[in-house]
Every structure is written in structure tokens, then in C-alpha cells.
């Protein structure tokens, strides 16, 4: 569990975190959804002690602090940047980070074997990451984050620059980790990923949480009704309706439909409604 309480952080006059308060529950996949510059990565950096808040507090577990080395051991991070050494082999990377986290001997070797198996890179462990594809590098980055068996795993944009196949592989691995009892904090600006993976999602912009809940709940509360876009007799019309199929059937009875589409509410629309801007702005 990570609890953010009345957190504030500014860079000069620019406020990047504005009175942030929310709690990430144990064993959930929590999505932090927002455009670039929303304050997502700053929140993570505060959570792991890389940044000091201007005010407010962060609690890890029951009473832990990001500044405690022991409490930080509970957290694993797959950073947005590929934080791996390209001149070391994949295995050397994992052995290095394992030792930094205090692992040694057989425990270290077993964890390295497990991590390679988990991210399906066991056949490429002797290769240098410079010879990896983007997706493989992301998986190695993930392996570095989970090597020390943390309770909480923070994944910052883990699918940036990844092909669909690797992306699906990463999703499966995240679900497996969650099934194994890990708490996942998933930071993304891809609403499809948040919809697909997350138990709960917080919509963040300008350093604030605008809404938080399950995907269904957010859509139901803030998404509005489904929309039918129809073109009849060269005239286009946008109609909000609870039952798009019945509405289309009604329209068909009144005349000939040239073209139509149905848009169901999604997180994109929720975000637009809450912040007045599109997610990828």
C-alpha cells in the first residue's frame, strides 16, 4: 500500500503536484492515467524518495517512509527510461542490480534465473542489450525491477516503443505478478492499456487527481451516454442515447441511412469531460 497525503511539489513557481491525496491498495493494479506533464512521474519519484515534497507525506505499507532503505526494498521500479547498462550483458545487468539490492550467492543466481524465465529472455541472457529489440530491452528493464522480489512494482510507461507482440507479453507478465500478490502501479498515457489492465484508475492532470475508481465506474459516472453518428439524406447528426441499436432501428424506419457509427463512452471521453482536453494533447 502507498498513501499520498496532501502532497505538494513545485519547481520554482510551477506547481507540479497540487494537494495530492490518494491511496493505492495492496494487491491491486492501479493505473495512473494522464497526459505528458500531468505529474505522474513526479508522483512516482516522490513515492520512491527521489524527490522531497514541499508539503504532505507518503506512507509505504503501514508506517514506512520512502527515505528508509528497508522500506524502499518493498518497491521495485521499471523506469520510463531504459535503465540498463548496454555495455554489460543482460545477465551482468541483473547480477549487478541484484547485488545492489543486497542479494548474493545462490539466492542471487536463483532470482536471476527466475527473472530471465519470467520475461522470456533466458536464451538471450549472455547477449548485450545493445543487440536487443526495443521490446526485449523493456522486458529486461522489467526484470531489473522485479529481481529483488518487491511487494510493490511501479511501472512507468512500460510499453513505450514496444511492438504489439512484446506489449502483450508485458501485459501477461504484469497480470502474473499481480496474481502472485504484487501491487502494481501502472503509469501510462494510453487509455486502452489502463482499461485493459487496471482494477482502478486515477485520472491525473496538472498535478491533481480529477477522478478515481474502477474503469466501469469512471465511465458510468463521467463518460456520458453512447453516441450514434448518422448521415441521412446528406445531413449528419450526432445523437446521445442509452440504447444505440434501438435508436438506429427507429431512424431506419424514418428514412434511408447513408452512413452511421456508434461510439460507446470510454476513458478517453472521461478524460476529455473532466479536463477539457484530449489525453494525448
Amino acid at each position: 500500500m502507498i498513501r499520498f497525503t496532501n502532497l505538494n511539489k513545485s519547481y520554482g513557481k510551477r506547481k507540479v503536484i497540487d494537494n495530492l491525496s490518494f491511496t493505492i491498495q495492496a494487491n491491486e493494479i492501479f493505473g495512473l492515467l494522464g497526459p505528458n506533464g500531468a505529474g505522474k512521474t513526479t508522483s512516482v519519484n516522490l513515492a520512491v524518495g527521489l524527490l522531497e515534497p514541499d508539503s504532505g507525506s507518503i506512507t509505504i505499507g503501514e508506517n514506512g517512509s520512502p527515505h528508509s532503505k528497508k522500506d524502499r526494498l518493498q518497491i521495485g521500479v521499471a523506469t520510463q527510461a531504459l535503465a540498463i547498462y548496454e555495455d554489460l550483458t543482460a545477465e551482468e545487468n541483473l547480477l549487478f542490480f541484484g547485488r545492489i539490492y543486497g542479494l548474493s550467492g545462490k539466492v542471487l543466481r536463483d532470482r536471476v534465473d527466475w527473472a530471465f524465465q519470467f520475461v522470456s529472455l533466458e536464451n538471450r541472457r549472455k547477449d548485450k542489450p545493445v543487440n536487443y529489440s526495443g521490446g526485449m530491452k523493456r522486458r529486461l528493464n522489467l526484470a531489473c525491477g522485479i529481481l529483488h522480489d518487491p511487494k510493490i512494482l511501479i511501472l512507468d510507461e512500460p510499453t513505450v516503443g514496444v511492438d504489439p507482440q512484446s506489449r502483450n507479453a508485458i501485459f501477461e507478465q504484469i497480470k502474473l505478478l499481480n496474481d502472485a500478490g504484487k501491487t502494481i502501479v501502472y503509469i501510462t498515457h494510453y487509455m486502452e492499456e489502463a482499461e485493459q489492465l487496471c482494477d482502478r484508475v486515477a485520472i491525473m492532470d496538472d498535478g491533481k487527481i480529477h477522478a478515481m475508481g474502477t474503469v466501469e465506474n469512471l465511465i458510468e459516472t463521467h463518460g456520458g451516454k453512447p453516441v450514434v453518428k448518422v448521415k441521412m439524406n446528406s445531413v449528419s447528426e450526432v445523437i446521445e442515447t442509452d440504447d444505440p441499436i434501438r435508436k438506429l432501428d427507429d431512424l431506419r424506419r424514418t428514412g434511408s441511412i447513408d452512413k452511421f457509427s456508434v461510439e460507446y463512452p470510454n476513458l478517453e471521453r472521461v478524460f476529455l469531460k473532466l479536463t477539457g482536453k484530449k489525453l494525448r494533447d
Binding site: L50, L73, A83
Partner: protein, 435 residues
């Protein structure tokens, strides 16, 4: 501590894996040292080329001048005429390896082939330079024995020598009468023999010459009486040009390491590994300590590699291994500190690389990294005082040829340690603030 060692080991592995980095850190300095050493006549005294020796002619006779001519034509040494006072002083201050003094009476002694003392030669050399001394003895004996060779191959000259010897024997009042008679009889018989030989040779003069000669070394008589005068060297000059070029090579290696590690801290920051390390249960201090340890180790490694090469291959000598250790440690501490300071000069690899190399090149330029300190004009030497490069070179020159004592070594070592500690602290403080 394990984490710091792990970090250092990782950094060293990364450094050695980077081929271009390895080249500029370890190979380039060796090339610089060897190249500059060769350009400045590096092995002029390394045993394979001629040794420059001062020659003093105290006898000023035809025989002594003939001997000087022989030495002048010799391939093994190059002689420079001098006076005894000047020659002795030059050897004493280390400007020349040795002098040869042809003592008074050389000419007379040369004439007494079978009687009296052999001609006397004095060698003035530093007693520590045993190899040079032995070599010089050998060369002098070789050319000294030519006197016998010439005499035995020239019956006219031999006749003259016999007459001189006969006269000396007859005039010697200390010699027993029986011995006197016996020796006079022997020399009279020899006289007849050489007279006959002389006539034969005159007849054979028109025939091609026979080059086979009796080896001087087989002659039982001593060709020269060589005495050695020990001239204790006050401060030796460089034994060869490599003693100057290797300290320069070392500084280039150190600069390469400092620049590489300075940039590597920024690379860690930009590629995100520093973030991952700082999230890990280690402090920023440990991360920086690991980096500093790796840099320190790499500098010591390059120092050891170059010093070993200088000593074993290029004949550079070390006057004190304790002082050498001081030079190595102080230079490593100094440039580890500078590395830390360089790493906070910019936020990107390009800026730190650019600024770092610019700063290091200027420091090298004014500190004797490009032009040896001894060739610099006075004002440049003054400016160079502000460069740690100068003090590093000076500390290594101190043990390679300047013959520094412990107290003389304290100045460069103290300055290097101060620069290192201050730079390191500034670097760490700025790094902590900006991180």
C-alpha cells in the same frame, strides 16, 4: 562496502568494454610516451646507441692526441673535449654520464712498451652507473690495446721501443746487474730480429696487405692503467628522453580516465541508471563512492602499467618506490576529485564531455602535458603552477629523474591531495543539490 565495490567493479567493466575508451585511456598514453620519447632521442643512453663522454687531455702529446682521434672515430662513444673541472662538474650535476681524462705522462708511458707503468687514463663516473662504467672500461681497453697492435705490426716502431727500453734498463740503478745483463742480451737479440723483419717488410711492401692482426686482448701486457674516480651525482638529469615522456604519458592516461568517468556519471543520469540506483537501498554517497573508487583504481592501473613499461622496456629508473607510491596515490586522489567536479559542469554528456575535455586540455597545456616542463619558458612555468597536471608530472619526474627527497616530494603531493579533496567535495555537494 560490498555495494560500493559492486558499483566500482561495474564501472571498471564498462570502461574496459568500451574499446575506444580503453584505447584513449591505456593505449594512447603509451603511444604518446613512446613516440615523444623516440622523437626526443629517447634511447640515446639506453645501451644500444652512442654514449656522449667528455674528454680531457692533460698530456697534450702526439700519443694522447692520437688516442683521442681513435676514440673520436669510435662508434661506441661520442666524445666532447673539455677541461677536468668542467667535465667533473657536468658529471656531478648529471649533465653527462662520464668523463675520460688522459693523465699527464700518457705519451711517455705509451713509448715504454716493455718497461715502466702503462699509460694512465682516469674515468670520472657516478658509482651508481656501473653498467656505463664497465662499458667505458671495455671501450678504452679496446682502443688502448691498439698501441700494441700497431707496435708489433711496425718493426721500425718496435725497434724504437726496444732502444728506449734498453736505455731505461741501463739507466735503472735499482736493477740487479745479472738481470740488467740478461735483459740487455734479450733486447739486443730482439733488435736483430726486428731489423731483419723491417727489411723483409720493405721488400713485401708492394704486395697486398694482410689484415690479420694479433688480438690486443690476448696480449699479456696491460694496454692502459684505468683509474675510476667516483663522481657522486647531485641531481641526475633524465637518464633518457623516456624519463620525460613517460610522466607525460601518465598524465594523458589520467586525464583520459578522469574525463571518461566524469562523463559516465552524466550518462548514468541521462540513461536512467542513476535513478534506478538511487531508488535502490543505497545512498547517493555510496553511488558516488563507487564511481570514485572505480576512477581511483583505473588511474592507479594506468600509472602502474606506464611506470612498469618505462622501467622494464625503456630503461627509466625509479629512485624511490615509496615516493613513487606517493606520486601514484596523490595523482589518483587528485584526478578522482577533478572527475567528480567535471561531472557536475553540465547536464548532458555533450556538455560535460566538451567542457571537461576543454578544461583538462588547458590544464595539460599549461601544466606540461604537451611540452615538457623543462622546455617551457619561465612565465609559462609560473602559469603552470595552477595546474594539477604540472604537480602530477613533477611528482613522477621526481621519482624518475629529478631525484626528489621525501621533503621535496611533499610539495607536489600536498598540492595534489588538496586539489583532489576540494574538487571532490565541491563535486559531491553540487551533485547532491542538483540531484
Amino acid at each position: 562496502m560490498i555495494q560500493i565495490l559492486t558499483l566500482a567493479l561495474k564501472d571498471l567493466t564498462v570502461m574496459f568494454r568500451d574499446k575506444s575508451g580503453f584505447f584513449f585511456t591505456f593505449i594512447f598514453p603509451i603511444i604518446i610516451a613512446v613516440l615523444f620519447g623516440s622523437i626526443f632521442g629517447g634511447d640515446h643512453n639506453g645501451g644500444t646507441r652512442t654514449m656522449t663522454v667528455l674528454i680531457v687531455d692533460e698530456d697534450s702529446t702526439t700519443a694522447s692526441q692520437d688516442f683521442i682521434k681513435q676514440l673520436d672515430a669510435a662508434a661506441e662513444i661520442k666524445i666532447v673535449p673539455s677541461t677536468l673541472a668542467v667535465a667533473s662538474e657536468r658529471v656531478r650535476v648529471g649533465k653527462n654520464t662520464a668523463y675520460i681524462a688522459i693523465k699527464k705522462g700518457y705519451g711517455d708511458a705509451s713509448e715504454q712498451m716493455f718497461w715502466g707503468d702503462p699509460p694512465e687514463i682516469e674515468i670520472g663516473v657516478d658509482p651508481a652507473r656501473r653498467a656505463e662504467s664497465a662499458m667505458l672500461n671495455g671501450i678504452l681497453m679496446k682502443y688502448g690495446s691498439k698501441r700494441f697492435q700497431d707496435a708489433f705490426s711496425d718493426p721500425q716502431k718496435m725497434l724504437q721501443n726496444l732502444n728506449i727500453s734498453k736505455e731505461a734498463i741501463e739507466n735503472d740503478s735499482d736493477l740487479d746487474t745479472t738481470w740488467k745483463n740478461n735483459l740487455s742480451q734479450l733486447f739486443t737479440d730482439l733488435d736483430r730480429f726486428f731489423e731483419f723483419e723491417s727489411n723483409q717488410i720493405e721488400e713485401l711492401d708492394s704486395l697486398p696487405a694482410d689484415n690479420s692482426t694479433t688480438s690486443a686482448e690476448n696480449n699479456v701486457m696491460l694496454p692502459l692503467l684505468i683509474t675510476q674516480k667516483n663522481v657522486a651525482v647531485l641531481k641526475a638529469g633524465p637518464i633518457n628522453a623516456y624519463a620525460i615522456s613517460f610522466p607525460q604519458g601518465i598524465i594523458w592516461g589520467i586525464i583520459g580516465v578522469a574525463a571518461a568517468f566524469g562523463i559516465s556519471i552524466v550518462v548514468e543520469r541521462t540513461q536512467g541508471t542513476l535513478q534506478r540506483l538511487r531508488i535502490a537501498p543505497i545512498s547517493l554517497g555510496q553511488v558516488l563512492a563507487g564511481k570514485a573508487l572505480a576512477c581511483f583504481t583505473a588511474i592507479i592501473a594506468i600509472d602502474i602499467v606506464l611506470v612498469t613499461l618505462a622501467v622494464t622496456v625503456f630503461g627509466v629508473s625509479i629512485n624511490s618506490f615509496v615516493l613513487l607510491l606517493l606520486a601514484i596515490l596523490s595523482s589518483a586522489i587528485c584526478f578522482t576529485g577533478i572527475m567528480m567536479l567535471l561531472s557536475v559542469l553540465g547536464k548532458t554528456e555533450r556538455s560535460v564531455g566538451g567542457i571537461g575535455w576543454a578544461v583538462l586540455l588547458v590544464l595539460s597545456m599549461i601544466g606540461g602535458g604537451m611540452i615538457p616542463l623543462m622546455f617551457m619558458p619561465g612565465w609559462m612555468k609560473t602559469v603552470g603552477t595552477y595546474s594539477p597536471v604540472k604537480w602530477t608530472i613533477l611528482s613522477f619526474e621526481g621519482v624518475m629523474w629529478r631525484g626528489f627527497s621525501f621533503s621535496e616530494m611533499l610539495q607536489p603531493v600536498g598540492i595534489l591531495l588538496s586539489i583532489g579533496v576540494v574538487s571532490f567535495l565541491i563535486g559531491v555537494i553540487v551533485m547532491k543539490k542538483t540531484s
